[in-house]
């Protein structure tokens, strides 16, 4: 576990707010005061429902959305202070893979054109042979062999899983230090999913990258991640190792999430999470702890006091004012 390795990215009091169309309306606080270190060489999963701010957070890490206040530093340098040329280099070091591989391709481009495009954008490779060898190498590493055959094909000739492999190849062809994958398997069939997940794990090792995985699915996070961060309405509510978080969730929200995941075992049917309602509409953020209106353990103070992330064990943090009193039963036998 690389918690003693240096942070590749450091996020401090990050706030990303979006103005709303109606003037004078309160802005949407998509990310609201997040502190997070991403350590070199780790696989970190950021988990949350839609509206939790997880996608906005990772977009801010790649400098793709304007930061309202707070900071993101990459390799020790604040992104705001990067000069033009440095920003270009930074863009090469951080690459993204998105959910829908169907939409991100130009259907008239061959796989070779798709995967070589980032190289051209960044002026890498002076000869065609050089570009070709980088492209073939990336395709092979992503399991698209023989590479020279796949390079000639077009997106519609590939299966969903193969298309996702192409988008991974076009992300790693630049040899990034940080690969950010946003829901990369949620559109794929179950039988294809775990092959793509293990491809990510293999690539992180062979390419010596840091991997950030954004997902709504805790079981996907469990498969790939060293550490898991859980977000709710713009804030981190719990973070810890995968084992701490799944085996012994401390925050009532995480506990409900882990309890609610249906296990493929009919003898483990039926513990229902005691949580009420839906994710609150982010436009109207509840006072105090944002989860309190749905929380089965909420006390009066929860509607007033904003809980801070506090340590439970080494590396395990939960934002709940009742951390010390609640002793939630582990939801799964592990």
């Amino acid at each position: 576990m690389p918690s003693n390795s240096p942070a590749i990215a450091s996020i401090r009091d990050l706030n990303v707010h979006f103005k709303r169309r109606r003037r004078l309306a309160e802005p949407v606080r998509a990310v609201d005061g997040v502190d997070l270190d991403i350590f070199k060489g780790e696989t970190l999963a950021i988990v949350g429902e839609s509206g939790s701010g997880k996608t906005t957070l990772v977009r801010a890490i790649g400098h793709l959305v304007p930061i309202t206040f707070g900071s993101v530093a990459f390799g020790g340098t604040d992104l705001e202070n990067l000069k033009r040329a440095e920003l270009r280099a930074f863009r090469r070091k951080v690459q993204y893979v998105f959910q829908d591989p169907f939409e991100s391709f130009d259907r008239r481009q061959s796989i070779f054109q798709i995967v070589s495009q980032p190289l051209r954008v960044h002026n890498i490779g002076s000869t065609r042979a050089e570009i070709q060898s980088r492209v073939y190498e990336a395709l092979e590493e992503c399991g698209l062999e023989p590479a020279h055959e796949f390079a000639k094909l077009f997106p519609h000739q590939l299966s969903g899983g193969q298309r996702q492999r192409v988008s991974i190849a076009s992300a790693i062809v630049l040899r990034p230090d940080l690969l950010i994958a946003d829901e990369p398997v949620s559109m794929l069939d179950v039988s294809v999913r775990s092959e793509i997940l293990s491809l990510f794990v293999r690539l992180r090792e062979s390419r010596n990258m840091t991997l950030v995985f954004v997902t709504h699915d805790l079981s996907v996070a469990w498969e790939v991640a060293d550490r898991i961060v859980v977000m709710y309405l713009g804030k981190i509510v719990e973070q810890g190792t995968a084992h701490q978080l799944i085996g012994n969730p401390a925050n009532p929200y995480t506990h409900a999430l882990v309890t609610a995941i249906p296990v493929p075992d009919p003898s483990q049917r039926g513990i229902d999470p005691a949580v009420k309602g839906d994710i609150a509409d982010i436009k109207g953020i509840p006072s105090g702890c944002r989860f309190h209106p749905r929380c089965p353990y909420a006390i009066e103070k929860c509607s007033v006091a904003v809980p801070a992330l506090a340590p439970i064990q080494a590396g395990h943090f939960s934002a709940c004012i009742r951390n010390d009193e609640l002793d939630l039963e582990p939801p799964h036998h592990m």
Binding site: G161, I196, T259
Partner: protein
């Protein structure tokens, strides 16, 4: 007693002069009062089957063989008029985004009441509104939200509303096609509990179509596993999860992350589901099957029966059945 009997059913689509067989020689039945899970990946034919049960196949699709019996009555060849009374009244359907088709500028209560009136015109305006409140209460919508507009409801409430609409004609058979797929896990768990409660309270029979084996384990009594337009295995939920026979069922179970099994223990299935335009010869799963033998590439597998409730289509068990017969 079986409420629905599907016997040797085949459904074809015609597209650009080609015939695509979306459901091939499918046989299974749904016992009254049970919840049957129909599991498959994209292209397995599970949603086509659902549409055919409701008489809602698109124009280029048609049943080309076999039969569907509902309460003992043959559904093939029903007139559109007959279907209109069957749909909603005998069977209801819940699907993803079932409420997206509602009128955004009309209150939900009034729209549910309209649907009620199409089934029970004798209720009149006031009676149908009362019934609408009753249905919305039944699916757990707080009464102060009944008069909201569709967009004012959260995702979970909308799915509950979809269930209320499906129940508006008092059907005893409910087809649920991926009804919880787009919901977050907490809301999903509560909708599954609602379906269980409704099943018990109203004596419903439910066909639950999904790709999610975790949901099946949580909810269903029996399971039918489909692959490439065919049923490859069928059994009780315990049989399927504890002693699966077909290599596809085994592989599918192995590809689901399971907290109890530990990390990195799930394995995918190499390759991807086949094209139905040109399905593989012999057993359709053979190109991806870890146990494939020579015969699998040539001959269609036939069915082996393992218990009164479990059967699978796989050459691996040919020998065993022959031995058992001796």
């Amino acid at each position: 007693m079986s409420l629905v009997r599907i016997d040797d059913l085949s459904i074809d689509y015609r597209r650009a002069g080609k015939t695509i067989r979306a459901v091939n020689e499918l046989t299974f039945s749904v016992e009254e009062g049970s919840i049957v899970g129909l599991v498959g990946e994209s292209g397995s034919g599970k949603s086509t089957l659902a549409l055919s049960l409701m008489g809602l196949l698109p124009r280029n699709g048609s049943v080309t063989g076999g039969s569907i019996l509902f309460e003992g009555r043959e559904m093939q060849g029903l007139s559109e008029d007959d279907w209109r009374t069957v749909r909603g009244h005998d069977m209801g359907m819940v699907f993803q985004g079932a409420m997206n088709s509602l009128n955004p500028v009309k209150r939900v209560r009034d729209q549910v009441a309209e649907t009620v009136r199409t089934h029970e015109p004798e209720l009149g305006k006031d009676g149908s509104i009362d019934r609408s409140h009753e249905l919305l209460n039944l699916v757990g919508i707080p009464s102060d939200r009944h008069e909201a507009y569709p967009h004012e409801w959260s995702g979970g409430m909308r799915q509950r509303g979809g269930i209320a609409l499906a129940l508006s004609g008092r059907p005893n058979f409910l087809i649920a096609d991926e009804p919880v797929t787009a919901l977050d896990v907490i809301v999903q768990a509560r909708i599954l509990r609602l379906l269980e409660d409704l099943q018990e309270a109203l004596g419903l029979t439910i066909l639950f179509i999904t790709h999610d084996l975790g949901v099946v384990a949580r909810l269903c009594d029996r399971v039918v596993v489909m692959y490439a337009a065919q049923a490859v295995e069928e059994g009780t939920v315990e049989e399927i999860f504890q002693s699966p026979k077909h290599p596809y069922t085994k592989a599918l179970l192995g590809s689901v992350p399971n907290f109890a099994k530990g990390r990195g223990k799930s394995h995918g299935i190499s390759g991807s589901p086949p094209s139905l335009i040109n399905p593989p010869q012999g057993c359709r799963f053979h190109p991806r099957c870890p146990d494939a033998m020579d015969i699998c590439t040539r001959e269609d597998p036939y069915q082996t029966t393992f218990s009164s409730s479990q059967r699978a289509m796989c050459h691996l068990y040919d020998r065993q059945e022959a031995d058992d017969a001796e």
